[in-house]
Structure formats: C-alpha cells, structure tokens
C-alpha cells in the first residue's frame, strides 16, 4: 500500500506539475523511489510517527502535500549534520533552499523545517542566521514509530538520519499560521537547578525524577521492572513541564518540554533543551483537549490571517507525535476537527517528536507537545 503510494508520488513528481511537495512518511517506508524524480519541484521529506494525517486519512504511511504556484518560489534542501554541528547544517540547508528557489539572500515568507531530533534549537538558530529572526520557522522533528531513532529526513537527492531538512517558501498567495499547545499550568512549579542540555538532573535541588514523580502524584514514576533508563514519553504526555515564555496580560504562556526518559539516578531526559535556573511549571492536559486542539489551531491559523471566512487552498500541520500516540485511537476525531476547521481543504499533518514555531513575543522556538498549522490562502 505504501509502495503504491510512493509510486503515485513518484508519478506526480515526474509530471513536474507542482512547485513544492511535502512528503511525510512512516519511517518504515522507503522513499528512494521518489528521490531523484523531482526536477523542478522542491521536495521536503521527513518521517512522521506511524504516518501522517490528511483530510482523507487519519494516519497514512505516505502523505504528500503539494503546491502548484508558478508565481511563487520554493526551495528545499537537506543537509546532514556533520562536524560543524546542527546550526551550520541548518544554515547550509537554508541557503541551499534559497538558491534552489532562486531567491538567494531574500527573506522568505515562511520556513518549513524538519530535522532529526536532538538539536532543534541549534537548527532554528542556523536558519535564523540566514533568513532573520522575524521569519516564521515552522516544522517538526522527524519521528519514528517507537523513539528508537529510526527517523530520517530527505530531499530529492539525499536522505539522512541525522540531518536538517529546510524548505523556504515564497508563496504568491498569503499565508497565516498558529503554533499552540493545549495544556494548562498547575500550581506545581520549581526551578531547574542542574541540567545538561536536555537532561535535567535536579529541580529545586532534588533529583528531577523525584520532583516530577511527586508533581504527577506518582502517575509517572520510574519502576524497577523497567530498564534504566525508562521511557516515560507516553505516560508524561498529559503532564509536560512548562517554561513561561511569554504572557498575555498577566496570564503566562509556557513553552513545553516533554519528559521522555527517566534515569535511575533521578535524571529526566527531555525533548527540549533546558536551561539551568529556568522556572518550570508542571502542565496538565486532557485527551479531549488534545483531540480538539488540532482543529482549534487550524481555526486560529485562519483567524490570524484574517481568513476565517475565506476559502483556503490547504494547510500544513504539525501534531506532536507524543500527543498522537496518546490520542491514537481518537485520531478520527482529530482529523474531523481539522477538516471542519479548514472547510474540507486539503491538509497534511505530520506527527513529530518536537515542534518548532513562532511564539508570540518569543520568536521561533522549539517546544514539545505543540500543534502548529500553516494555512495557504
């Protein structure tokens, strides 16, 4: 089935009808059939947890979102992360994408990014060094099906399990977007007192796992029967840690970090980089909220662009893979909400292990458990 879909995409690319194609696939699908077939088309490829949702499928192993826009310009490039690091790779990918779009040095309207998990903040910095900080960079990290590192990204000629896939979009039609999460803060707050990158050792001077276990009331805790480290991604989905990043009025808004792994030494591995001294708040969410959130973000994206009552051509979405796994069985409800929000316009929603997008007042940020939507008018 997936192979047939790949052939369809291959044929589509062969016709050179489209200027941009976002192809998000289950990590078990081999994309080599479509690589090398996209002359004249910017191909943006990344794995998506289990597959991706579309207006016709809740979770398709192969999902493609294509744009035909001769008046616009599109460019995609994947650069493997090498010794120069993720930021350099992201910078190179952005510049190559600009060159492919024949817009070298020009500010795009939007950047669509897919990187393999781990150094998303550096990726954002690399892209921003090329396009500037006020260009929205929206995307999600490539995901496999079981957090085993089987993810990869690819363009028309390269595929990498440790790389950055950047697409620069200069559409001729207006675009609008939204980047949100569906969580609420709890009264449980603390300060990161010891951290190394994405591994938080201590919160308020205590082992981070202990604090987190306390905050969740034991709902997420390390158990002896689990190997060390213990994956807690699924369990922690409804209780991420939030860092106040902005506020509307006096109401703070948080950038979420999703605890992924619990170590025996009490450390917690996150899907986002933490800073020592950061204030953290345990957030809480509900399955219902996660199910409805996708449609609501899509509506917000339309509203932000002033296109609530106007027809949209389509939309690209990012839906947190962890959330998807949590509401896996409720995916029809998720896609239904999106279809309704977009009035049936075609869309593609990738399930990712980390989400990037612009937060109001905070610029482009990498977060977890986020949902984003880009609406093409």
């Amino acid at each position: 089935m997936a192979a047939e879909s790949i052939r369809e995409v291959q044929e589509m690319l062969g016709r050179s009808e489209f200027d941009f194609v976002a192809l998000h696939i289950n990590c078990d699908v081999d994309p080599s059939g479509v690589m090398g077939q996209s002359e004249g088309t910017a191909l943006h490829g990344a794995t998506s947890c289990l597959g991706a949702m579309t207006e016709t499928a809740d979770c398709a192993a192969v999902a493609a979102f294509a744009i035909a826009d001769k008046a616009g310009a599109y460019g995609s490039a994947m650069v493997a992360i090498g010794d120069d690091g993720a930021e350099a790779a992201a910078r190179a990918a952005a510049m190559q994408a600009q060159a492919q779009a024949d817009r070298t040095g020009e500010r795009p309207d939007l950047v669509w990014v897919s990187s393999t998990p781990g150094e998303e903040e550096a990726v954002l910095a690399g892209i921003e060094s090329v396009v500037g900080r006020d260009v929205p960079i929206i995307g999600g990290s490539a995901a496999d099906n079981s957090v085993e590192g089987n993810w990869f990204v690819f363009d028309s000629s390269h595929k990498s399990a440790n790389g950055v896939m950047v697409s620069v979009l200069y559409p001729s039609a207006p675009v609008s977007f939204a980047y949100q999460n569906g969580y609420s803060p709890t009264e449980k707050t603390g300060k990161v007192t010891k951290v190394d990158g994405r591994r938080v050792f201590e919160i308020d001077g205590r082992p981070a796992l202990d604090v987190y276990t306390d905050w969740t009331g034991g709902a997420v805790a390390r158990t002896e029967e689990h190997a060390d480290p213990q994956a807690i991604l699924s369990d922690s989905t409804l209780w991420p840690l939030g860092r106040p990043i902005t506020s509307v009025g006096s109401v703070p808004f948080y950038l979420l970090a999703h605890p992924a792994t619990a170590h025996g030494d009490g450390a917690l591995d996150m899907f986002a980089t933490m800073e020592e001294g950061e204030d953290i708040t345990m957030m809480t969410g509900t399955v219902e909220g996660l199910c409805d959130r996708a449609g609501r973000v899509a509506s917000l994206a339309r509203a932000t662009g002033g296109r609530s009552t106007q027809t949209v051509k389509g939309a690209l979405m990012i839906y947190c893979g962890g959330c998807m796994l949590t509401v896996r069985h409720e995916l029809p409800q998720v896609t239904k909400g999106v279809r309704e929000a977009l009035d049936g316009a075609p869309f593609l929603g990738a399930f990712t292990f980390g989400e990037q997008g612009p937060l109001i007042g905070a610029g482009n940020r990498h977060g977890n458990l986020m949902i984003s939507c880009i609406v093409f008018g």
Binding site: E106, D134, Q180, V248, V251
Partner: protein, 927 residues
C-alpha cells in the same frame, strides 16, 4: 475542555488577533504618515523626497532611490534622497525589474558595479514600478527589512513614481516658464475666450521689442503694434487665424512705442483644454528687421547675379547638397540640351544628365563613354577644369567646386572657337616653321627674338636657337641702315661655302619697335629672271619679225598679183608677131623691170621670216640630239623613256628649233613631277592624223601626215584654267622659278612650221603634250625655174582657179596659147563642182591659195577625194610661208610663186602630165 485552557486559548487567540491588528495598524499608520508627508509637500520634488524620508524614517533605509533600466543590464539613478547619486549608473548582480525582492543578505548576491554607496548594506528592497523603473531601498544593519517594510515599500513605490513624474513635469514646466520669461523672443498670451482677445501675459522680451511695459499692454488687444494697413495681406491672414483659432506664421510691419518701425515675425498657435476648447492664443514675436533687410539685399544681389549669369555665355549651374538644381542659366540648356527636364530648378542633376545623354545619343553626334556618367567628385578635384569634347562637336571647359554647404557650383565655357583658333595658330606656326622663306622677328635693335628653321638655314646657322639675340643684319655683307618704323625691302648678299648668295629682305614693323623679317634666297631667281629677260627679248624680236613679215607679205601679195598681170601681158605681147620692133626694146625693158620687181617682192617676203621655219631636218637625228641633251640633266628619281616608232622622216624647220621645243616640254614635265619619283615619256610616230581632240594651239589638217611627238609626264597635272592659259606669254605655275615664256616660245616655234600642239592634263594624273609637226615639202627653188621655154600643152583640159579674175585670165590665155583648153573659175567651189562632176574631163588643176570661201589647201584636199591622180599646181604669192601640210609633195605636183612665171607653169603642167602618164604606165606594169 477545562476553563483554564479555554481561557488561555482565548487569550492567545486574542493576542494573535491583536498582534495582527497592531501590525496592520502600524502599517496603516506608517502609510498614512508617508501619505501625509507626501500630500503636504509643497511641490512634486518635495513630495518625492518625502517618500524617501519616510522610508528612511520608517524602515531605516539608506539610501533610497529610483532607478531606470538602461541597456546591458545597466541602470541609472533617476532620483534619490542622496542627490549626489542622481545620474549614477550601476549594474546590479540580480535582475531588479522582474519582481519585488526583499534581500536580507545583500553580499550574497555578488558585487555591484558602479558608484552606488552600498558597500556596507546588508538588506535591500527592490520594488519594480513599471517595466523599466524600480524603487530601491538599502538597509545598513544585519537582518535588513522585515515583511512589513516590503509591504510599505510596495505601497509607496507607486506614489514615488508618480511623484517622480510630477517632479519631472514640474521641472519641465519650470524650465519652460524660465525659458519663456528669459527668451530673447517676445512671448505673449491672449485670452481666446474673449472676442477682444486681450493680452494676459507678455514676457520681458516682448517689452523690450515693443517698448511697452507689461502693465501698459495687458488687457489690450495687441493690434496697437500694427503699422501695416488694416487691409494688408499679412494682417488679414492674422485676423483670420485668430478668428478661427488657427496656428500660423506672419511677417508684420509693427511700430514700437517710440514710433520706430520694425519687422515682427509672429508665430501664433492656439492652446486648447482637455475638451478641445481653445482658451489661449500664444504668440512669439521676433524682431527680424535685420534679417528682412538682409534678405532684401540678398534677393537684390541674387537677382543681379541671376541676371548676370543669364547674360553670360558661360553655362552656370548651382546644385544643392542633395544633387538638386538650385539654378541653371540659359547657357546650360544651350550647351547641354536636356529636352525633357531642361535643367529646371528642383530637378536632379543626375536626371538631367541622363536626359542630356539620351538626347545626345539619339542625335547625330558621337557619344563616348566619357558621357555616360558624370563624375562630379572627380571633376571637383581638378581645379583647373576639364576640357571635354561634346557629342555635337563643340568643346567645353568645365569647372566644378564644392561649396561649404555641400552644394556644387559648375561652370562650362564653350571653347570651340578658342580651340579652333589654337589649332589654326598651331597650323600657322607649323607653316611658318615649314616655310622655305626665312621668317624672323627682331626687337627694336634688330636682335633676333624668333627665327624659323629656314631663316636659320639661310643665315648659315645649324639651328634657330643659335641666332637668337644676334642682329639679323650681322649675317650679311652689307651694313643695315633701314628705318624699322616703316616697311623696308632690301637685297643683301653673303658669302657661303657654295658661293655668293643673294637674299631679299622684307621687313614689316611691329608696334614694339621690332620687325617681322622675311628672308628669301633669290640667287636662283635672279638667274632665272635674267634668263627670262633674254627669252622675253627673243619673243619680242620674234613678234616684231612676225609683224613685219605679215606686213610685207600683204604688200608682196598685192605686188605679185600686179606683177603677174604685167609680166604676163608682156609675155603675151612678145608672142604677138605683129608687135613693132621699136616696141621690142620697151617690152624687153618692161619684162626686165617686171623680173626685177619680182625679185624685189621675193626679197620682201624674206623680211621677218624665221629662218628656222625654212628647211628640213631628219627626225631621227634630232631625237638623238634631244636624248643626248636631256638625259644627263634628268633628276635621278625621274625616268626618261624614248619611243621612236617613226621611219626616217624629214620634218619642216630646223633640228635646233625641234630640240628646243621637245627639251622645253620634257623639262616642264620634270618640274611637274618635282621630287617624287616619276617618268617622262617621249614617243614619236608618223602618219596621217585625223582630227585630234586635244589640240589647243595651231591647226591640224585632217588626214594629213604629221610627225606626232608625245611628251608625257606623271607629274601633278593641271586644272582646266591652267591648261587654257598655259601658252600665254608670262603665265607660269612655277612662281619665281618660272619665266612664263617657255611654252610661249614652244608655241611660237611650232606654229612657225605650221604645226599644232595638243594638250591633255588632269590634276594629279600628269600631263601629255602632243606635237603635230609637219613633214618637209617640196619647194622648187629658183634654179628649178631656169629653163622657161614654151611647152606644148595640146590635149590638156586645164581648170584655172583664182579669185583675181585678171590673173586667171592672163594664165588662161597663156596656157591656151600653148595648146591647152582652159576654164577659169573665180570661186574655188565652182571649180570643185566641175571636177567632181566629171573628174576625167580634166587634165590638171591650177589654183591660187589665198581665196575666199576655200583655200587652195582645202580645194586640193577636196579634189583629191574625187580624183587622186589629177595633177595640181598651187600658185600663191606667199609661197615661202605656206605651211599647209595638205600641200605636201605627195598631194600636189608643185607650188608656184606669184608673180607667176607662165613658162614655168607650162613646164610644170607638161611635167605633171608626163608624171601622170608614167604613173599610169607603172600602174599598168605593176597592175
């Protein structure tokens, strides 16, 4: 959904919307601010600058500019907030005019060529406005322009372009206004909506030209300037143009405020509003007084020039730079006829030339390649002009020159006569050089300044140059004492290696005191003249002898007749037996006196008679003498041919006279041949001559026998007029080399022997003289007449013919006394009739020679036709001069002289009867 979450979502959505509205509001404010600044600008240029300033203020851009596309990807700055950049050319590393660009990393695009100060810029906004203009904003800081900046710039770009255009229009208006105000030409505007069309504006130049201040004329119709009569053509045209709001140009006679008149060239044009309604009449005024006066002067000069050129015989042609004819006088068409275009102004030279060539080709003249194409460029290169021979036979000297304005002026002079004169002069000079006479020119001192080759030769110089500067008289033995102010003539001599030569000098004075000197070598001529003088004297002598002879012959003739009667009567009286004896003595004395008288008359007849006409000579010997005399002196190129087809024959006259005649004719032939090769042919025959047609002198008796001597040459021949005069004394075709007496002497000598001269000649075909020289005849001398005894003439029937009936009767009586029967005829025609009627009835004929109606010779000739053997005796008083060839010995029995010895007559008759009888016997014997 928890309320908290719902609240947070609502807040976030609200925040998003607020941000969007805030951005929109900011954009609107920015735009409004820009538009306000734009609108508040006092002029289009400030409006444009306000946009630049707004972009700088709102976006931080610097510099900002509007550029125009040039060729080869180059651009030029049309406007900028940095005025120093205006006009700067540059080449961008990317295409600027196809779409908007928001460049945030400008160095990535590559280097810019030109002088734009953007080296530190990192951002750039480029917004094309039209296909060939673009608004550029540069940003000095990293990150460049945001999306809102692009939006604002795109919105302002149109305004900027409009401002630029407005600024340009305003600048043009300002320029026009300044130009009008500062123009040296008067400029005025009248309100066309008012019937009065009052002036609403005048510039300073109008004030200066008219002398009126603006405040004096505004609100008035400008007719106050008019000085022309109201009905003049130009004013009428102007009124019509203003009435109908039409443009026009007018030359008006105007008057300044000071009263001074001037020529005003007024240009009028209406100005209409968008609806086409004319609201203003704009006029420019220019004081063209100087130009008009100059044009009048020019026209006057041009008219005079045209008249002069029309009057000149030289062809004059003026061409415009494009080859069209500006002017051609009448002589052009005369010299180079072009019947179709006729060299009219406005037609092209090439077309006219083709017309001329076609006309000339169709004509009778010769058309050469030279005329098929007129190369004016080549002609203008030859400053001295080119002489061409026209197909109609004329020659022209053509000159051409380029004018400063690219035109061409051509002139052509008919030099046909001049060339003829040159040719004639050349021929004359050649003739002078070739002349055998020496021709020289001397100055007042006699020094030679020119001499031809003949003069040099005559003066003993190897060439003429050696004699120049020397006095001509220094070459002669005699000192010159002539007055060169009057014509002079002299004969001078000089010693040469060949002996003393004599030159005749003729001098004609010249105005400059010099003289033209003609030198002739007259050495030979003088010799010829001396010889001619001798000949002339001989001729005169001969003519005198001839006259005397004719005179004495007449007297002798009459005396002889008288003596014949006297002597005859005495003879008859002596025969009478009854004459008394006392009379015998008288009769004897009468007879003796008669005989004496006869001898006297005979001697009278010898007076004036050329002895050369007497006697006889042998033709063959004479011809040998001629050849011996002639051949050594013949020029080498002339062949002498002698053909003698005559038997040994005795001719009348002397061999000397014959030789002189033939030599003279032969040498004339040599002269006629000249220096060219030729032949002189002498041919001699003898025989009866019928009636030659070429006889020019003397008389040829048909059927008589002559020695015919032809002297023919292959020389130049003679025309008919010369032939007619060739025997006249002193007529010569040899100029000074001839005497004019040679042929006259020939004629005299031939006539003296009774001969004739024939002449055939044709110019270029030689000349043939034919001598008809009579043969010698039998003349009984006095010794023959010694025996005078009476003779019996019985049986003879004799017819006696003499116009003097008395003589005839005496002769008849005597013959009858000797037994003959005699019939006397005074008219020879009667005698001829009688003989012709019955020739056998007559035994002999005795006839006088000089008779009316028919001479004795003619009678003899006629009788011989009737009876060849009838004995005939001719009696004449001029026996010694008778040269009638019909009376030669073969035709008659003898000639007896008057006064007639009757006994001699009887003996001659008896002898003749005897000869006839012997002839008959011989005939019988031989028959």
């Amino acid at each position: 959904m928890p309320n908290d979450e719902r609240l947070r979502e609502a807040l976030l959505e609200l925040k998003s919307l607020r941000d969007r509205e805030a951005r929109s509001l900011e954009e609107t404010r920015s735009l409004l601010s820009c538009v306000e600044a734009y609108s508040a600008a006092p002029n289009p240029n400030e409006a444009l600058l306000s946009i630049f300033r707004s972009l700088h203020g709102q976006l931080g851009s610097t510099p900002t500019l509007i550029a125009k596309r040039l060729e080869d990807r180059r651009s030029e700055v049309l406007a900028s907030d940095d005025s120093g950049l205006i006009g700067t050319e540059f080449t961008a590393p990317v295409e600027l005019y196809n779409r908007p660009r928001n460049v945030i990393d400008l160095p990535l695009l590559g280097p810019w060529e030109g002088a734009l100060p953007i080296g530190d810029s990192t951002g750039m906004l480029s917004v094309p406005v039209q296909s060939d203009t673009v608004l550029l904003s540069f940003h000095p800081k990293p990150g460049g322009f945001g999306k809102a900046a692009m939006t604002l710039t795109e919105r302002l770009a149109g305004l900027a372009m409009q401002a630029l255009q407005n600024s340009r229009v305003a600048a043009e208006k300002d320029l026009l206004a300044a130009a009008i105000a500062g123009s040296s030409s008067g400029f005025s505007i009248a309100d066309a909506r008012s019937d009065e069309r009052p002036l609403v504006y005048v510039n300073r130049a109008f004030e200066r030209i008219s002398g009126y201040l603006a405040e004096e004329v505004l609100g008035r119709n400008c007719r106050f300037l008019a000085a022309d009569p109201a009905g003049s053509t130009e004013r009428s045209r102007l009124r019509d143009a203003t009435r109908h709001r039409r443009p026009g140009r007018f030359l008006l006679r105007n008057r300044r405020k000071s009263g001074e008149l001037f020529w005003n060239e007024l240009t009028l044009f209406p100005v209409a509003d968008a609806n086409g309604q004319v609201h203003s009449l704009v006029a420019t005024q220019t004081d063209v007084s100087e130009r008009v006066e100059a044009e009048r002067e020019r026209d006057h000069l041009r008219a005079r020039m045209r008249q002069a050129l029309e009057a000149t015989e030289d062809a004059f042609l003026l061409l415009e730079a494009d080859g069209r004819i500006a002017f051609a006088n009448a002589s052009v068409a005369d010299l180079l006829p072009a019947p179709q275009l006729n060299w009219h102004a406005g037609t092209t030279f090439d077309d006219n030339w083709d017309d001329y060539v076609a006309h000339a080709t169709n004509g009778a003249g010769q058309m050469t390649q030279q005329f098929t194409r007129a190369d004016l460029d080549a002609l203008t290169q030859v400053t001295t002009g080119v002489e061409i021979d026209l197909p109609d036979g004329r020659s022209a000297l053509v000159r051409a020159a380029r004018l400063d304005d690219g035109g061409t002026v051509m002139s052509a002079t008919d030099v046909t006569e001049m060339k003829s004169a040159q040719r004639l002069l050349g021929q004359r000079l050649a003739a002078i050089e070739a002349a055998t006479d020496g021709i020289a020119i001397s100055d007042a001192a006699g020094a030679l300044i020119y001499m031809n080759a003949a003069a040099a030769r005559l003066m003993g110089l190897p060439n003429a140059e050696l004699g120049l500067g020397q006095a001509w008289f220094a070459f002669y033995d005699q000192p010159a004492t002539m007055d060169t102010r009057a014509p002079f003539e002299m004969v001078v001599t000089r010693d040469t290696d060949a002996g003393l030569v004599t030159h005749e000098i003729n001098g004609s004075p010249l105005d400059n005191g010099g003289a033209v000197i003609i030198v002739r070598d007259v050495t030979d001529r003088l010799l010829i003249e001396a010889k001619a003088e001798d000949l002339r004297r001989d001729l005169v002598r001969l003519q005198g002898q001839d006259t005397i002879a004719q005179l004495t012959a007449g007297i002798a003739h009459d005396f002889n007749n008288l003596l014949a009667a006297i002597n005859g009567s005495v003879t008859l009286m002596e025969l009478e037996p009854e004459v008394p004896k006392e009379l015998h003595g008288h009769l004897a004395r009468i007879k003796a006196a008669g005989t004496q008288a006869t001898r006297l008359v005979s001697r009278m007849l010898d007076i004036g008679v050329d002895e050369n006409t007497q006697g006889a000579f042998d033709l063959t010997s004479a011809l040998a003498d001629v050849e011996a005399l002639l051949r050594p002196g013949m020029p080498g190129q002339i062949t002498l041919t002698l053909e003698n087809n005559s038997p040994a024959t005795a001719l009348r006259g002397t061999a000397t006279a014959f030789s002189q005649v033939v030599l003279n004719l032969a040498l004339n032939g040599c002269d006629a041949i000249g220096k060219a090769p030729g032949e002189v042919r002498l041919s001699v025959s003898c025989g009866p001559v019928q009636d030659p047609a070429d006889v020019k002198l003397g008389h040829v008796i048909p059927k008589s026998t002559y020695a015919v001597v032809e002297v023919a040459d292959t020389g130049s021949g003679m025309d008919d007029a010369t032939v007619e005069r060739v025997f006249d004394p002193y007529f010569s075709t040899k100029g000074r080399q001839g005497t004019g007496l040679g042929l006259a002497m020939v004629a005299r000598q031939v006539q003296s022997v009774g001969g004739a001269i024939g002449l055939r000649s044709k110019v270029g075909d030689g000349t043939t003289f034919t001598l008809y020289w009579p043969l010698a005849r039998l003349i009984q001398n006095e010794a023959d007449r010694a025996a005078g005894d009476a003779t019996d003439l019985s049986g003879m029937t004799i017819i006696v013919v003499d116009d003097d009936r008395g003589v005839g009767e005496v002769v008849a009586q005597y013959l009858e006394a000797n037994g003959a029967e005699v019939a006397v005829c005074a008219d020879p025609r009667d005698a001829l009739d009688a003989i012709t009627d019955d020739p056998s009835a007559w035994s002999a004929l005795v006839t006088d020679y000089d008779m009316p109606h028919m001479t004795g010779g003619e009678l003899v000739e006629a009788v011989r036709d009737a009876t060849p053997d009838l004995p005939i005796l001719v009696v004449t008083a001029l026996a010694k001069r008778l040269s009638d060839p019909r009376l030669e010995a073969a035709q008659i029995s003898g000639i007896l002289a008057k006064p007639l010895d009757l006994s001699q007559l009887c003996q001659a008759l008896a002898s003749a009867r005897l000869d006839k009888a012997e002839g008959l016997d011989d005939a019988h014997i031989t028959g």
